[in-house]
Subunit: 393 residues, 4 copies
């Protein structure tokens, strides 16, 4: 903790689970590009006026590392993304040094095929990687962010991989963000540890496209007292996500979040299904079509259709940077437990909070105000787990 | 003013400018249908829990009349709307008595072709019609609501028809609502009278379809810091509205409101045009296509398209009933001047208020709270114009 | 066979399998309405100039009957369709007599729940119903048309219901049309009888919406040498069809036809899935969204999207009348075997023919020419099965 | 004329009016890329099996040059197109030599601002440029292709620029193709010269997107006897085309072709307008939305909507190569006058031919057959205008 931030600014680690994926690669490359002034910070809410003076760590202070089980190096992955139009063509070479630096901080994750380590051994190994990252970088703190492929809904009592990583984050004393629909810290067996850790955490399942739209359209229908009869949707996407979600169990995990978000904003569960199709030729681009049949006055039948054509990595990456900064600052300010004020970012937010995007934005603005006035907590530093602590409200 | 509302409930007049149009006909027929329990109050925000105990006049207390310059009787117009699918087939006969009753309270408007009356004579004649309506019905008060076809943007100093009606409302001591983009009370020459009247008023240009959507999508882009490059739109509509808006001057009036709403919610004025096409075969149904080109992180190009297929009359009518009740109650409670809390209903709201639908809804909920606790103002009764009064906040 | 058609016009039976369904009801009501001059023959290709003088039986000569296993009478079903907007509101009463007449000619189909009859007994019972219909009406011939709900793809050797009806048609000496994706005459065990019967037949799976579109868009891409990468689609529909197709086995049968049509017109099998969702609130209305990702010159990625909002019954019914007339006339003219010239009407046409709609239309026009010049075959009359006959080309 | 094509293959010039525009640049770069095997010939109909052995000049024999009035060199223009995603990123450098070669063959067009040359002097200067090109390259022949920006509909008797170029083509003895809606050879004053020249010509207004779609959808509705009530459309496009068409007079020229194509394929002129909006941020990408309201059986209202997102240059360029090859071969084979068999490529085809794309394709296939069997005409060589010749059929 630096008493003189202007002299020795804090350095904040961002430890990415799935560190060689599209989202992580775009976040690392984009952070470097914005820091260097090559691109404006489009899509980053923390760079808008609302967060001025909120004490967020500057983009230039972020240090990246993470776990992954694939071995395509980050610079090469960035080239592939540029070829697919996700990154500007010349960006990978322009930020090559930063990609190389992050690549050097990536460690092999787990469990691996045929892994014989116990749960506890695995968690310890993963936590050690994180602690080493913090020590090597002389970081003030690190935030662990899950951006790995969606897991199937877990069956049985064993911790799925996403929960092992979450447990490792707690053990390493790091705040945790789950940007995916996977279990992560949500697993019932981790609840006592999450509470005992006194760490802030956020999640889950980033709201980047179809659900973002639904979180403004649902309230519109509800506030206007229009009766939604059926809400149907189809998502077409390629890339790793498309393939992962072609697994019905993973798609079920994803869809559960989508449906919850819809029911929460609408107040009812309408008819209709939501499909997720793997269409490899679309690459990292996603198309989401929604068809909403609703009744107006005297039962008149009406229809709204939306088609969203977006690039999930480019939508997610700035939110990852936002979340890392916000959760790092929340940690610094002594907040702990579920950060329900970050519901703006998630399909299935932790804690109790509103479901309509407008109200979620208002809660985020409130948080910015609180962070502005908060001092720095007496921070025991990463690696030393705090004793039990109450929720932050 | 009744001290014992349960014994002698107040009767509230709704005086419609354009009383034989689609919107007016649907409002009259729908009010009767909902009162009789034939249909649920879909689309009426004032029938949701938020307005419980806010002292709004019950639907059964509303009495309809108005001005029009066409002479197709209301029951016949209702039959035509039922044939076009806007009203349920059997509704015109089911609420025939109420349609007949309203028809008897419709008077010829003005100015007529070749009319030689002075502005003041016209206003006086129109005001007399309204006062007679209130007297005949022994009404506690009446709200004047403009639902006539859109006028061209006025040139010169003369009051356009919509402003003559607005002036008549003031002279008759009635609160005024402008649901159209026409000038109405907005005309600069009426400003002193509006202030002096001490009457509450609301407007303008009801937000029923494309702009309703834009008022939730615009804030979504702004809050997520996504850069909207171009927002283009095409509206296809038939019916009277389609023909009226085929007049470029009327379309210009309409589009000004649309564009202002977009700029207000988005914070910038993006590229792109908005077309309004007269497509007679669509009848009272409207299709609005919007194409929004926006940039994500690192300049990635993305697109959202929406297609809204709605029936404007069925969208507008419940809002007319809402507004009549809200403004009548505001009058009763002693509010005066521009009711900016009703921005939820309008493209181009009077007063200062937020542009995002979510915030407008919050303001409406606040108003409900204030009305709940407000007593009844010492109401001098309709017809007697109050002395000058300050704004209500 | 009448030598003097003007004196004693031939009467042609149309025996509908699924006679109380939406399509059948619309066909019966619509035939009466067009005959009475209440509506133009929109959607009937046989009423265009191409078929003038082709000897088709006039609409006024068609007599309806059929099998069904539900017992809602035709006039009542017509009322329900009118309430749902599929039929004009006043049509059921205007053609009440014709609906009653058809209702009197509907017999219970089979097999029924717990039916103990053998396959042969069932076919005989069904065939007897058809023969009785022909005799009672003194009909020159009857065409059997399957418009029942889609069956699951049959497993095992037993004839599914649709094939029992097809066998009954053959046994009764009647030409057969399969407007559904069910097996019908397509079952391998029926092939020898179909050939031996010398009867003309047509099918299968009427091309009414999404596939109709695909049959013009597929050739467009192929002719322009544009490389289709992925063709994805979602169908939303309610009504009986939606529920039947919510059964994955029935949907599989339906989709097989859709995919075959696409592959045939496109020349390749692109990526992408086609979904069929049951959305009860849409009633008899169907919405089909297609998303086609294709490459242009130098690999440039482009997209075409289509949204079709149609009423399947209103699209299918005029084609049923077309097919009944065409197949009756083909029978009269002595044609036998698969009528590949009717591929214009089907997703998965019998015989060998082109897949592009334009070429299919040309083949239909050719058929009209041949029918124009054909005499009347020496028709042995219905009920007497012809000996083996060669294909008609 | 080479008797031994394998020894000394003919070299064919392609003289582009608008030689530094997007379409021309894409055509030159793409021809080189396909010749070099860098890309498949997607979008080139002349590279499909149908044209095998039709004697078309190989792509490697095409030599490019042309007129333009802007001075941004071709290689630089190619870089800009690559930055906008129209060309693959690495293509401009890969085909740099070919772009340079074409750039050297581009001459300043006319009339220039303040030009004092007479019509005849201008035509002579332009024709001299073309003749010089043929002589310098020792070309067997050259085809002049207009791909310049759309001109306003000409008023008065003076030849517009596009017609001056067309006259120059005739004077230089070159076949002519008009890929734009501008007047070109269509000007009444050029008709006698066109006939007298004995040269083949084709046009006008390339069918690349919305009208391509309409040319298959229109016949679909017509063939199915479905009654189209209204056909509305909006085109959004940036680039030079968007700006040029923001001029209402140019847009009128463009729309005239679109409407003619629609009326021709549909057989009627439905309600509805077509808008062309300049949206600079879309660059060379075009989005076209069509909304088609049609009636089915018994007047049931249905709707088809299409959204086409394409890159006009990438759609047009392969057609330019097709047309240059086809018209060069037609010239070689002695065809003259309007090549109505090329209606497949145009919104407003010369000569009499079918309007439905499928029939136009069949006509094109017929032409391929005729070219296959045609010998080489006694070709007087470019530069020497033939005497009057009859039409080629």
């Amino acid at each position: 903790m630096s008493a003189e931030p202007s002299v020795s600014p804090s350095r904040v680690g961002v430890w990415l689970i799935g560190a060689r994926g599209s989202v992580a690669t775009t976040a690392v490359a984009g952070c470097a590009a914005v820091t260097a002034g090559l691109h404006p910070p489009t899509g980053m809410v923390t760079e808008t006026g609302v967060f001025q003076d909120a004490g967020l760590p500057p983009l230039s202070s972020l240090v990246f590392g993470g776990h992954d089980v694939v071995d395509c190096p980050l610079p090469k992955r960035a080239e592939a993304l540029a070829a697919g139009g996700v990154l500007p063509h010349d960006l990978p070479s322009a930020v090559g040094a930063e990609l190389e630096a992050a690549e050097r901080e990536i460690r092999i994750g787990g469990p691996l095929r045929g892994d014989t380590r116990s749960e506890d051994e695995l968690v310890e190994d993963l936590a050690r990687d994180i602690r080493d990252f913090v020590r090597r970088g002389a970081l003030d703190r690190a935030v662990v962010v899950n951006v790995a492929s969606t897991e199937p809904v877990p069956e049985g009592d064993a911790l799925p991989a996403s929960s092992l990583y979450a447990a490792a984050a707690l053990r390493a004393g790091c705040p945790y963000v789950n940007f995916t629909p996977s279990a992560g810290l949500h697993h019932p067996r981790l609840a006592p540890q999450a509470t005992a850790s006194g760490l802030p955490y956020a999640g889950r399942d980033g709201k980047t496209g179809q659900t973002l739209l639904r979180s403004v359209l649902g309230p519109m229908f509800a506030q206007r007292a229009l009766a939604v009869r059926a809400w149907s949707g189809t998502n077409l996407l390629g890339g790793g996500d498309g393939a992962a979600l072609a697994d019905p169990a993973a798609a079920a995990a994803k869809n559960a979040g989508k449906e919850r978000a819809l029911a929460d904003t609408l107040g009812t569960v309408p008819e209709g299904e939501t499909h997720i199709d793997d269409v490899p030729s679309l690459g990292d681009w996603k198309t989401a079509w929604d068809h909403i049949a609703f009744d107006g006055f005297l039962g008149t039948r009406m229809v709204l259709q939306t088609t969203w054509q977006g690039c999930d990595s480019a939508l997610a990456a700035p939110l990852i940077l936002d979340l890392a900064r916000l959760v790092a600052r929340a940690h610094e300010a002594g907040l702990s437990g579920p950060l329900s004020e970050l519901g703006f970012y998630f399909k299935d937010p932790v804690g109790d909070g509103p479901a309509a995007l407008g109200e979620q934005y208002a809660a985020l603005v409130d948080l910015a105000g609180r962070l502005r006035t908060a001092g720095d907590a007496e921070d025991p530093g990463p690696g030393d787990v705090k004793g039990p602590a109450g929720e932050h409200r």
